[in-house]
């Protein structure tokens, strides 16, 4: 009775209804390769910031930059605490050789977790600098103050920063960081940089190409190019490889094999591509999976009996029919970052390994490589590069291991850059999911009964990172990524939410927002359908039904409605509709969006988007707005365009010709209002994705009178 035993394991570990966070922590402990997931400490922060001999403050970042703006934000925080200009803060991207073990850059956590600590480290360093200046000048520290270029006494600069650092870098201790009291939170009047709109870190280099930023910009002496020979089918196995035809390709250097691993190496990329074309591969093909069979595997209506993981079980749902009863489908979808996964690996004469890569988790990469090559952690150094689009795709080890294996086998530094076809075929993807939602409301227009059952491919427990043993072990545990965002923000006297994660023959894993993207689309679709069924305005139904404690959700919803002129919007008609949706991300950030959709000869077109967003303290409003805009564009893609097609046991798309993304003319102007509902930053990288997709599909439903039950909508 495997189902029974899985339930018993969950119960025994106490991972029940409200234990989603506990599930996450507990489950990670099952993954031995992962580095510690503890939050950063004052001890970590003491290592991040120092005054250097050139008079510049060096800030060693512990979080990856992938366009979410964390680098510029941390520079702003440090600059304000030190009272210096932002150009005096030099940021170094995450490097395992320079910083203490750090968490991965996921979950919109970077500013919330590291921002306050950067502020404390900077506040401590300011004190240490004044103390050092007082010692050198033989003056009371109380007479001195920090200014943009150094230490001032009255109006006179008495010690410049480069003089202060000349004898060696100035650091602070863990104790000093722990004892520091940053101004950032206490005294908003002292803010110069925090709250100021600035473009992303390295923006000049991005628009000029003036210096290396991304992994593909790394070029090492003697470096060659490598590519891995992969099965073409899902679950396929390579039986034999014949590389004899490759020898005639100028620049081809060799086929290297090690067990099931096989890769080609060439001196030029064109030679690599040509060698791959003429390589003869005999493959035992996997099962003939297709999109329809994947959908069937997660189909919630095919589930027998109860779903194994309970999220919420309050009150009695009773036996009365529900006002709405919907079954909704979300397909497989790709990250489709424009930068493909890329890594450069070099073994040194001392046997150590250096890797350059755009990764969300450099320490996971380091530890995995160290384990694979029998090296100590200290013998592997991972240099984090700017990521050309992360979105959850760079959370595991991929091109890094391939580059390192080929570097080991061929004895030279190797760059591996995935082809676009590799990205679709060998990457992992947003899990398909299937949702049944049944809701009822009372005569006063309040939601009374809530039942959401869903099945999904795995998210956190991705088969892309876990072998069969761990897949089996985690088969007993609720995947917290699947569950994210499943707890409704609406009060209902009876509520049941339950789900089941399904191991699929296609690799699925973290995608922007994890399960929250799909779960919120399902929830907000159903709430809208309920409003239609009861003849209520969807704004009114939501405002009446949002649980009383979610004051900030109510506030963003009211603000978005105000921005869009919701109460006075034109009446929905066959060629134009208005929709809204809202949600909470990770119980701490809030977003509500109104969409206007127009039907044209070419299909549905989003012609207006208004979003109110509350992620607490905003360090850089420009970067937070950019994240909101990006999430809403993802909502357009999710609603109207994106499905990663599978057929004949293969991922079918090979390029962007087969995987349409939102393009310039698909995206309207977007109006964003930022509300700072808490004095702490809570995260913006994924928040608005909880509202964008459903706002668009609800607008279509308003136009057509029919609920959108499957994504993407496609042509009108």
């Amino acid at each position: 009775m495997p189902r029974l035993s899985r339930r018993r394991v969950l119960a025994a570990l106490g991972w029940g209804a409200a234990g989603i966070t506990a599930v996450a922590g507990g489950a990670f402990a099952l993954m031995p390769t992962l580095p510690p997931r503890r939050p950063p400490t004052p001890g970590d922060a003491a290592a991040w910031l120092s005054l250097r001999p050139d008079g510049v403050f060096e800030l060693l970042s512990s979080r990856a930059e992938m366009g979410q703006g964390i680098s510029i934000g941390m520079r702003q925080v440090a600059a304000d605490e030190l009272g210096v200009g932002i150009d005096r803060i030099r940021l170094v991207q995450p490097d395992t050789g320079l910083i203490p073990v750090a968490r991965s850059t996921v979950g919109s956590d970077a500013m919330r977790e590291t921002g306050p600590l950067v502020a404390r480290a900077a506040a401590a360093l300011a004190v240490a600098i004044l103390r050092e200046a007082a010692r050198r000048l033989q003056r009371p520290a109380g007479d001195l103050r920090l200014a943009p270029d150094g230490v001032m006494d009255g109006d006179a600069l008495v010690l410049a920063f480069d003089d202060l650092g000349a004898a060696g870098p100035l650091f602070v201790t863990e104790g000093e960081v722990a004892a520091a009291t940053p101004r950032l939170l206490a005294d908003p009047s002292g803010r110069r940089e925090v709250g100021r709109a600035r473009p992303t870190h390295d923006v000049e280099a991005i628009v000029t190409g003036s210096r290396p930023l991304y992994t593909d910009d790394v070029r090492l002496p003697g470096m060659v190019f490598g590519a891995v020979v992969r099965p073409r089918t899902l679950g396929g196995r390579i039986r034999a490889i014949d590389a004899s035809a490759c020898a005639a390709v100028p620049g081809f250097l060799g086929l290297h094999r090690d067990g099931a691993f096989a890769g080609l190496v060439a001196s030029r990329r064109s030679a690599l591509a040509r060698a791959m074309e003429v390589l003869a591969v005999d493959e035992a093909e996997g099962a003939a999976v297709d999109s329809a069979s994947l959908a069937a595997m997660v189909d919630v209506s095919a589930a027998v009996g109860g779903l194994e993981h309970g999220v919420l079980d309050d009150g009695d749902l009773g036996d009365d029919p529900f006002d709405v009863d919907l079954t909704l489908a979300v397909p497989l979808a790709a990250h489709a970052s424009i930068e493909p996964r890329t890594a450069v690996a070099r073994f040194g004469d001392d046997g150590g390994l250096e890797v350059w890569t755009g990764t969300q988790d450099p320490f996971f990469v380091r530890d995995s490589l160290a384990d694979a090559f029998g090296l100590s952690r200290a013998q592997v150094v991972v240099h984090g590069m700017r990521i050309g689009g992360g979105f959850g795709a760079r959370t595991i080890v991929a091109a890094e291991m391939e580059a390192a294996r080929l570097a080991k086998l061929c004895g030279r530094p190797v760059k591996v850059q995935w082809s676009r076809s590799d990205e679709f075929r060998a990457g992992f993807h947003r899990a398909p999911s299937s949702h049944r939602i049944r809701l009822s409301a009372d005569a006063a227009g309040r939601i009374t009964r809530w039942h959401h059952a869903f099945r999904s491919g795995h998210v956190i427990f991705t088969s892309a990172a876990m072998g069969p043993g761990l897949q089996f072990a985690t088969g007993f545990v609720a995947d917290p990524g699947v569950a994210r965002g499943a707890v409704p923000a609406y009060a209902a006297s009876a509520a049941r939410v339950a789900f089941e994660d399904v191991r699929l023959p296609v690799m699925t894993g973290p995608w922007r927002g994890l399960g929250a993207a799909a779960n919120h689309w399902a929830i907000e679709t159903a709430v809208d359908a309920l409003a239609r069924a009861k003849g209520l305005d969807p704004l009114d139904l939501r405002l009446r039904s949002i649980a009383p404690e979610h004051v900030r959700l109510r506030a963003v919803l009211a603000a978005a409605a105000d921005m869009a002129g919701w109460p006075v919007r034109p009446k929905d008609r066959p060629d134009e509709g208005w929709g809204l949706a809202c949600g909470i991300y990770k119980e701490m950030s809030f977003a509500a969006t109104v969409a206007r959709v127009t039907r044209t000869a070419a299909g549905y077109k989003v012609t207006g988007l208004w979003c109110a967003h509350d992620c607490g303290l905003v360090v850089n409003p420009d970067q937070v707005r950019a994240q909101v805009e990006g999430n809403l564009v993802w909502g357009i893609g999710m609603a109207l365009k994106e499905e990663l097609a599978v057929g004949g046991g293969r991922i079918l798309p090979e390029s962007f010709f087969d995987y349409p993304l939102p393009v310039l003319s698909d995206v309207p102007d977007i109006e964003v209002r930022l509300i700072e509902g808490s004095p702490q930053p809570t995260g913006a990288g994924e928040t608005a994705i909880v509202s964008g997709t459903a706002a668009v599909t609800n607008a279509i439903a308003a136009m057509t009178g029919r609920t959108v039950t499957a994504l993407p909508v496609g042509r009108a």
Partner: protein, 155 residues
């Protein structure tokens, strides 16, 4: 074989003649601006301008540039500093991850250099094929308008 790269003559060894132009520029000439996104011309990240025309350098052989003038992102700025498109891209804070922005800038630069009065339909035709996954499209639209205003002011 000789090409003109960012206004300077460059000799290209014959054995690299059939290398895709993108890899010639990146791997042999050390440029960072044009970027690899797909290798089949489906995203535009590799765009360069050849004799005034925006081209996807990943599907052009190096020989396509023989005897012609190739302009890349690195060559856009002139003696007077950043090009109006580069300034506008910074002032409108367009880039998120930044990886595709070479293609955005070079494509619209070529379009408006050839067709200064290009309308919305022309911009859609040129720019819809240059993909951005981060969702910078609203800012790209604003930056194009700002760059045109900057250019008009400079004239």
């Amino acid at each position: 074989m000789r090409i003109t790269l960012n206004r300077r003559p460059v000799d290209v060894p014959d054995e690299l003649a059939d290398e895709p132009l993108l890899f010639l520029l990146r791997d042999h000439l050390g440029l960072n601006g044009p970027r690899f996104g797909c290798g089949v011309g489906s995203c535009g990240a590799c765009t360069v301008v050849i004799d005034g025309q925006a081209e996807r350098s990943c599907i052009q052989p190096a020989t396509a540039a023989q005897g012609r003038e190739v302009l890349t992102l690195e060559g856009l700025a002139g003696a007077g500093g950043l090009h109006p498109f580069q300034r506008a891209w910074i002032e409108e804070s367009v880039p998120q991850c930044g990886y595709c922005q070479n293609g955005q800038i070079m494509t619209v630069f070529a379009l408006l250099a050839a067709q200064p009065d290009a309308g919305a339909a022309d911009i859609k035709a040129a720019m819809d094929g240059v993909l951005c996954r981060c969702g910078t499209q609203p800012r790209i639209r604003r930056a194009i308008a700002r760059a045109r205003a900057l250019a008009a002011g400079d004239a």
